[in-house]
Assembly symmetry: D2
Homo-oligomer: 344 residues x 4
């Protein structure tokens, strides 16, 4: 089979960098063009010296790249960019995976509320498939347009999916206390993300409402079949990669939740349910397209505590995007995604 | 006034180190003796080079130090050590502040359950005062034996105190999702605490039951006037100092919680309630005897989220111990505790 | 005595923040005004939440502050700002300590070469005193204008001063291999200084010529009484605070260098020569106005290796500035500079 | 071709962990047995949770493993262990790669001096090949016993090899100022290697003589054809992986060193000479079997500064061991070693 010709728009953020890393080792895809407005004309390995010797290409400006000649275009751009280019590319027959938020919310009013502008192509929202394979694998296979999930939503939804799908969560609020490494905030020049500001420091942020909240709620409500009360509190951890979600829900005492989770994820190549009593650590998935989950029931409480970890740049972004590509093009789902986590 | 003559037993852990730092700058106390079994005979500044030029003393072995001649002895020893020495010292008229857990739980059976051995002097438990000044200031003033609170309990109890004291927490479980820097685990030689194991990593631990759980529950139940369901999940953050507690409770919609918190802590020298919408960060209290708290009510939920931060070695250990000493000896409560946090 | 009324221009960088921290605890100085172009009108503790409860002031714009009414003005501005304001303030009788580079090089041509523009007041360069007390204490006492040394120069000059003053360095090149924490690069929004770029990473930079090179060379040549060949290589360490200089020089075998260093720094309140065989660590000076030095002679070589550590924001910037203020105003040299290093 | 059956002795240190990671993805090798005295009987993925789902094996005790049935045995044991087992295995026809120091020094007296005991099989030292392919590729191909180089020696020797081989280094001392991440110190439970001790800290160590000094000197003297004065100063960086060597030598002004280095390493698959003026960073090789080098000539000096970076666990240990295995077994030298560095 010919290699899939892929384009990457927004190749200089961390999501784009990670896509390049994964695709350079992918057995069935080739990077046809890399688009960056800010770095157009520079060699990719001048911007990213860790790629020296592995890539000869040059970043192209948005008007120079022949994206329409690609089989698939990944958007790793800031929110609100892809929606302006996607309709034209779809019309050219190109399939799309958007790593940003442009196509994640089905309700255009919600998009406006959380992203502060009208959606440029609301008519496409109903066609976009939310690209969480464990939730909607078959729809992804035939999708033209995949909305790749956010990093927090991936960790939280995978933590709660078996519980909600089985209708086992009690009526109280679902709580998702989530912690992310700094790469989740992107590669922008922001004082608050300097090493001197983040290192030896820990804090919550956006408790009043993070943009991933409506995305998580949309997925959980769909799984639950009803609107659920959800509290989502993100925090930033002084490390580069990794998300840890600690999720709380009411449950009845008698249910064997370990079995529920193991059954729900049996056969899933990228979700690992740990043995009872274990605690996943973010480094156990560093660099790999994996989510590891542990299910705890603290004694003397009526709660379940579900712990889940992902690498926010892999299963939370670029790795999941490649997984979606594999599904869309009929490849083995694990193609190019088998490298081992790096520890220590 | 003569300076208070203090002894420190267990001067080589992080709690002991921090006590030495604070007491060397204290205007009304002097370190009469420093006891360390492992470092007996070595100069303190050979073990802790950051103290060179500021201390001439030598660690003494447990049998060599004249602790009975001290006005006050701090125990910064591992759990289960102080309880063997405290009765004799009390009999000699020495007052005691124990930074370990030996006198924190009022129920000797709970001590046995959580610490794996019988308590050596259960008859003293009823006399020991739990040394959280914001909870029990007057009792501390006259105490002979103060049980200095644990680091997690300090952060969690201060976060929930105004809510519970005012009877404003709804019936659902209280959830304390807490995150600690690595110094909370002490200075023992443990593989799991190596930089290579903790750095670029995040994980929960002891979800099934951490030793601080019964301590927190004892205080919260006392504040609430009834037994409360409590879920406590600790996590380790790749940094040295700092605890961040994220606490969740049910509350009615109409209550002005900001005012409740500001009123509860008005006049408290070491608790700072942030303005609405702010998020405390651990570095804002690094090195200082402070707890900063923010109160959030996420939209569309019936929950309050209380965020609190402390430096686990200061307000969570040695600083609070000095605060207790100040109260016990009739000094201004802030004596020796006014140095500013260090940021960045 | 009345308190010294000080102004700080450029209060929002790390040097300015650290000045505020030190001056708030200084027994004989008070901050009369804080100038920040970017934060004018905001409360200081809104910008720096770690100062909440300790400062009531608001940043003023450059035109609003009455700097001329101060006894002393600190400039903690980017290079090239102070030189435009200093002549006027001096004319008003205000004394100046500039933490930037504007008055460090005596040769205006060198300033132009390294800073890329003509000097605004070259006539003042001859009057400016290089504010390294261990080098030039008496001149500082009577100075109107003090050029506070750079962070690398402080660490390197103190490491080599005894050797060069005693004429003990052989003819080969002096090598200064220096390592700095990230706060040395300032608080600017620069991609290269993000936690995600600096953490888990180490690199040299500006090997072809760092702006501190001519400053170091000027001081070393003056000490040596001749031009010396100097290689200076800076590196960035994934930490916030601290500089470690590893300096190499040729020396004759027979000299007791330990005695030379101990004699040279006997009586210096802020320089500590470690015992033979020891290695200073940056955390042993964190937050404190100290330089610790160790002298090594590796076997089978004709070289000395001098290791020196400082906190770049304290002895390498704000602390040294306060030390200079103390000298200029006849205060005890250690006033406000006695707080202990913070470890861990 | 049948897969190479390899055994790993000492699988629970960082070198062993990294060998497992690389060999699990190697196309022509299989792990036949994993030996650990401390973890015998435990599943590998219970000790290393990041390997869950990828390895089914159990650690064997030293007496239970059939190492003699392997084609190749890697020793990733502490120094002084392999030398007791190697003679027997060689007699059984097994080939050996020792990642420890047992066979690196050709002079048994030097081994005794630096490692504090007599060598157990000094007669093998002359046969052992020093496994730095860039130095001695052909000898490695036919070796029975390969002494895998130390991490610092790999970085320093590759930095100076072209200079010394071409006879271009002047007579002055060679200086190697080297900086290592904490994984270089191993996975032992040592207080000094706790996160709380190493993080936010930087220091030199063993300036009087590190065990890698004789190893480096042996290789450099061989390249130079004469004994060279060498100063080697190691430092520990608060990060997990990576070594940065900053090397200094005298050179004549007229030589085009960039060309010398590019020529010397032309065709080397794992050494990358950067463009003039660039500075390698350790993260550019993280997780990959690469050494990146830059050559600088600071203006107004007669010195060259060579900067080299490796991942100490890959090109400085396990990756180089696999590279040696590939050479010994006639495989493509890059087999199993093509995964990309991970950044950020």
């Amino acid at each position: 089979m010919d290699r899939i010709r892929v384009g990457i728009v927004g190749g200089t953020g961390y999501g784009g960098m990670e896509l390049v890393r994964l695709l350079l080792d992918h057995p069935a895809a080739e990077i046809a063009c890399l688009v960056s407005r800010s770095e157009a004309g520079r060699r990719v390995d001048a911007v990213f010296p860790h790629l020296r010797g592995r890539i000869e290409q040059t970043f192209q400006g948005p008007d120079d790249a022949d994206l329409a000649a690609c089989d698939l275009v990944f958007f790793a751009t800031p929110n609100g960019v892809a929606m302006h280019q996607v309709p034209g590319l779809l019309a050219s027959g190109v399939r799309i995976i958007d790593l940003a938020a442009d196509f994640r919310l089905r309700d255009p009013a919600a998009w406006t509320q959380w992203y502060g502008e009208a959606h440029a192509c609301p008519e496409l929202l109903a066609d976009a498939i939310y690209g969480l394979p464990e939730l909607d694998r078959d729809a992804i296979r035939s999708a033209r347009l995949v909305a790749n999930p956010g990093c927090y939503p991936t960790a939280v939804i995978l933590a709660l999916l078996p519980l909600l799908r089985a209708g086992l969560a009690g009526p109280g609020a679902l709580i998702a206390d989530a912690k992310s490494g700094a790469s989740g905030a992107g590669r922008g020049a922001v004082v608050g993300n300097l090493l001197t500001e983040l290192s030896e420091n820990f804090r919550a942020y956006r408790v009043a409402g993070h943009r991933h909240l409506p995305e998580i709620r949309q997925a959980l409500d769909r799984l639950a079949g009803q609107a659920r009360e959800l509290v989502f509190v993100p925090h930033v951890v002084p490390m580069i990669r990794g998300i840890h979600a600690t999720c709380y829900a009411e449950v009845d005492a008698g249910i064997d939740l370990q079995a529920v989770y193991e059954d729900a994820y049996a056969g899933e190549p990228f979700v690992d349910v740990l043995a009872p009593g274990e605690h996943p650590e973010t480094r156990s998935v560093r660099g790999a397209n994996l989510c590891r989950i542990a299910v705890h029931r603290p004694p003397q409480t009526g709660r379940v505590v579900v712990l889940s970890v992902i690498d926010n740049l892999v299963k939370g972004a670029a790795g999941q995007a490649v997984q979606n590509m594999n599904l869309m093009f009929g490849l083995p789902e694990t193609s190019g995604l088998t490298s081992l986590p790096i520890a220590p």
